[in-house]
Amino acid sequence: MSANAPQTAPEAPAPFEWHYPPIQDYGVIGDCRTIALVSRQGSVDWLCLPHFSAPSWFAALLDKDRGGRFVIRPCDFIDSTRSYIEHTNVLQTRMRSPTGTLMVTDSVSMVAEDQIAELAPEHEMIRLIECAEGEIDVEVYFEPRPAYACARPRLRNRGKLGWHCACHGDIAFLQSDIPLRQTAPGTLYGSIRLRAGERRQVVFSYCENDVGILAPLGPAIEHRVQATQRWWNQWCARCHYDGPHRDAVIRSALTLKLLSYCLSGAVIAAATTSLPEGDTGARNWDYRYCWLRDTSLVLQSFMDLGFYAESESFLAWMLHATRLTQPRLQVMYDIYGETDLTEKELSHLSGYRNLGPVRIGNGAHAQLQLDIYGDSVQTAYEFVERGGYLDRYERKLLVGFGRTVLECWRQPDAGIWEIRSDPRHNTYSKLMCWTALDRLLSLDKRIGLGLDRAKYQHELECVRVDIDQHAYDAARNAYVGYYGGHEPDASLLLMARYGFLAADDPRMIGTCRLIESELGVDGLLYRYPPGTAYDGVEGGENLFGICSFWLVDYLARLGDVARAKALFNRLLVLANDLGLYAEEFDVHSKAPLGNFPQAFTHVGLITAALSLQQAQRGRRGEEIKR
């Protein structure tokens, strides 16, 4: 211990000066119902309860002064390193102070089948504290601000039951073997000096409209963390991917699993709302909902990795949750299939780094986006290809999708990028309509959907001709983003993936060249040309994570494995130290931007890795033949 170190832990908190950490400073933990963002400084800055898209209890991420946080850190924090325990979503952060090192192990408990007999809180975040080296003053700062910081809960000390925090019908308990006291209404603080090897526990538990369940501290809590680790390990053991960068693929799969809602099978696009996609808040959106497109892609990735149960759950969710709109599909639903996701602004929150507005709900829910039919049918097609069974109702639903595509494919729409200007004929939407019809014909052949095959064949051909006539720019030898336009769109890299064109077709090669030349920056891609002309939204556009992974996928399909590998490696470096991605990369610094972590980008990583694996195997096969 240094001579200058304090002899006792501080009695009162030093005045806190909170800052907004960079987005890459966050790690995530969760229980497949909700997600917490934990910063490098041991602060839980985002947690919504009881589920992903419910109001927040901690939202310092979106307002450092009002939002609320839950911090465990050394009083004299210097820096930290962190990692997940292998093949889990249990996060370990090692924080250094001048006198020692503190290790905080954060997890949200998962309940295994064999533990159901044990009464457990609805949600339980366990934070294990251990002095790893030296002697260290640790402080705990607990500032819950439920209902997006609109409510200030009453905190009551219940003695050995811990601190009780009620808000409307909800209740949370904070239990700890570190003494805590109320330093301001709705704020708890405690500090303690720990020596090497000493351990403490802090448990935050939550119940909605129910009798609270309390966890006894001590060995039982350690066992619950171990059980959570086992749960994640067992889940990962189902993954049969053995290709390159397995750890990165597993981390992406674990992140996607965190974003899936276990009670319904829905998968949300990201864990947060309103993290800015640029230097202004013009592009602040709420991504805590289930986009059918994103979910379909996630499920295709899960199937590719061997997680079949998740794809079955999603199909079941799609069947039941979309009942209100079938056979038409809405772009997004909430985790239970709710269709009204009206966008609102929370004016009392300043936004991440004061880049408001903070939005909840999403105005894009009412848009027409035709590509979602293709994504949904493609998921069902892959499910059947892998031996899955569709019952009579599911088949009927698919036929309904087909009917909608036949009726609507000639209409303009908002497209994959949810353009907020006037609807137009987006090439990617037409491509996915073509994909929907093509896969339905294949499914009909395989399991008998009772389609009017001649009509479907005819329309399939019409879509192809339509795309070739209106989206192909002969002068540039490339397909462009929308009919009548001249700009490329990175989503068209998927034309080869969906079988519309062969990867080595000169038009596909030309499209890729145009995308790389006009959308590429240091090898990474914009999704479309930056500026307001393409999407009609103010604020600068940045490099889009999944598009760069799509380029890897395309290059691998083309057989350009060396370039694909180089780009893939480059993208791996751009993840944060935990292997997590946001939606975009800053065009200059390449720092992550936008909601975090983002399912779409992690799907891209898995897709690209699988294509690379296949390409490498193919090349090896050819070498063996030679």
Binding site: G169, D210, A215, P216
Partner: protein, 164 residues
Amino acid sequence: MTPAAFAIMEILLWGLIATICMGAILFASQNLGWSRLDLPFLLGTIFTGERHAANVLGFALTILIGWFIAFFYYLFFAAIGQANWWLGAVTGFVHGLLVLTALLPLLPYMHPRVASEYDGPSARRRLEPPGFLALHYGYRTPVVTLLAQTVYGAILGAGFELVF
């Protein structure tokens, strides 16, 4: 049908109706966020720590206990020689007060899975104790409980008026 058998049928019928109405009020107030008191769950967890089983078992126990208490209401009305809805409501209100002031605060000492504020939670005792007037389950809990018990009593009083 003998008069005794008829009376038992009436008790069972009105006991069931009163219990269902009381349960509905408690259930609605729980889901509206007014109270976290979950009577079936508390009853079920006397016998099992498995949440789903506790809810199912607790529901059955709630009905059985509702019937059982309806017999005492019947005996009380028979003893005073009259029954009507307001007398039933007053009886139910007093019953509710007894539950809030005597029965629920004793729960940590009687219920095998309710934690005590003196000892803290243990591996077995994990349920939050109700506290004075069950205020730990939300500050509207006493009101909701009294309302539910009053309705229970009023329905029994009105039902038994037909018997006497």
